[in-house]
Symmetry: C2
């Protein structure tokens, strides 16, 4: 346990110690598990040191405040130095932290961030390079899956993630956490129908592969173009039949007696194969 | 909503209707989310129709009882016919079901199963065919990851999953659920140290690939043998250094700036590549 007097002076001066869990300045952090910054206006919650590092390294995102458990302070000196001086850093005891969060908040590091209006699907597609691998999501409404897909997109350097309007927001707390910060790193845009997104990609020269258990070509045989988009739907309903009929469909070859993969796992397998890293 | 009198006579005679959530016969189903059949003696809980189907199709597993929400009965006629006559089928209302489970139990289908003593690691290895792809787990203690790895093992027809003693039991409720039943299908054995398991596999002619971010050969370049074992450790600590030094290490090639995959996703990518289905 590190007590206050062991911290260097600048660190003690930098932080604002708060004892009362009901302090109004802590409102954005209250019961973070139950609510998710309802009416968020571009705000999000980042948890843990790894996610905080990804957050701080993205100049498009602004830090509104930090909430740090007192014994985590010494390990965050570098991160705090990189924050602007006018960003409040609240420092609390374990007891206060758990009372604010509403559950034992083991990580002890929370941050409220804000981002400007995200790009539109059109603008993001227009900004893509000539060689690009993008992920396109249809109806992905589970925050775990969304976060896992972003983690895979970052690991295999997908250019961006595009989502139709029925997919969930990648900046929900749980999605950011599961993504290990990738949701704060990989560019994304959400909106419109999946048909519109596919049309726009095809007009910009993208080869759109629809990943489906009923796909006709193995991902190991399909030949990606310089601009490739990988389209993924939900595990239950899958992609709309009309789309499957007009696109090249690809499949992950697997057992006939247990043809069931999690959608995020499927994204990882297909991204690994189509990424420039695979060399195949 | 289906009421009792719409069910065929045989179905009504087959089930035992229970109104009182405190009925002693329902004890194994009580608060299933909080406890997990502590002191289970080979018992497990299966949830949902898909998992129940996998469960019933495995002759090595015995059904002890079923607990079915009344409006799910008509859709389970086939499954109930395949159960022995002396297996109790308890049928309850939505209100009673939620009171028993301790939370809204949407699936409405629960079963308590039992399996005989699992095979030892030695016995399971001895029973493997000449062409085999096995998964070997070291220190996997997260039930979500365990379940996801089993799901992938089933999808790519791994011969079995072997686990050291520090890995968790795949028959925990959550693990079975996440595996979509694969934990009740894919043979597994757990016990001993990871070094012992690796020694036994090598003595039986297995090529053991240790999957690691620091691995020297890309999974897309590594050449699997007729008997291949894929060794996976935790995301944090990874595999013991002594093992990495004596085994062929393989890696999933990915971004240098975000070299982080979930261990279950990594298992899916490597299984897909090394399975007979990939054709590479």
């Amino acid at each position: 346990m590190t007590s206050a007097f062991e911290n260097p002076d600048w660190l003690e001066h930098r932080v604002t110690r708060i004892i009362n869990a009901d302090d109004e300045r802590l409102a954005p952090y209250r019961n973070v598990r139950e609510r998710d910054l309802v009416g968020r206006e571009g705000r999000f919650i980042a948890e843990g040191k790894v996610v905080l590092n990804v957050f701080l390294s993205n100049p498009a995102l602004a830090v509104e405040s930090l909430l740090i458990l007192e014994n985590r302070l010494p390990g965050l000196a570098g991160q705090l130095k990189s924050c602007r001086d006018d960003v409040p850093v609240y420092c609390v005891s374990r007891q206060t932290m758990d009372a604010i969060a509403g559950f034992p908040m083991h990580r002890g590091i929370l941050a409220v961030g804000r981002r400007n209006a995200p790009p539109t699907v059109d603008a993001l597609i227009d900004a893509l390079p000539n060689t690009a691998l993008t992920i396109v999501l249809c109806g992905i409404s589970n925050h775990d899956n969304m976060g896992s897909i972003f983690r895979n997109a970052a690991a295999f350097e997908a250019s961006c993630v595009l989502m139709d309007e029925t997919s969930c927001d990648p900046l929900y707390r749980k999605s950011i956490r599961v993504s290990v910060g990738a949701a704060l790193k990989v560019p994304f845009a959400r909106g419109g129908s999946i048909e519109d997104i596919v049309d726009k990609l095809q007009n910009r020269g993208f080869e759109v592969f629809a990943l489906s258990p009923s796909g006709t070509t193995s991902i190991y045989d399909a030949a990606p173009g310089p601009r490739t988009a990988l389209l993924l739907g939900t595990e239950g309903e899958g992609l709309p039949k009309s789309l499957l009929q007009k696109l090249q469909t690809v499949t992950i070859p697997m057992s006939k007696s247990f043809d069931s993969l999690n959608v995020a796992t499927a994204s990882g397998i297909a991204l690994s194969r189509f990424s420039r890293f695979s060399g195949i």
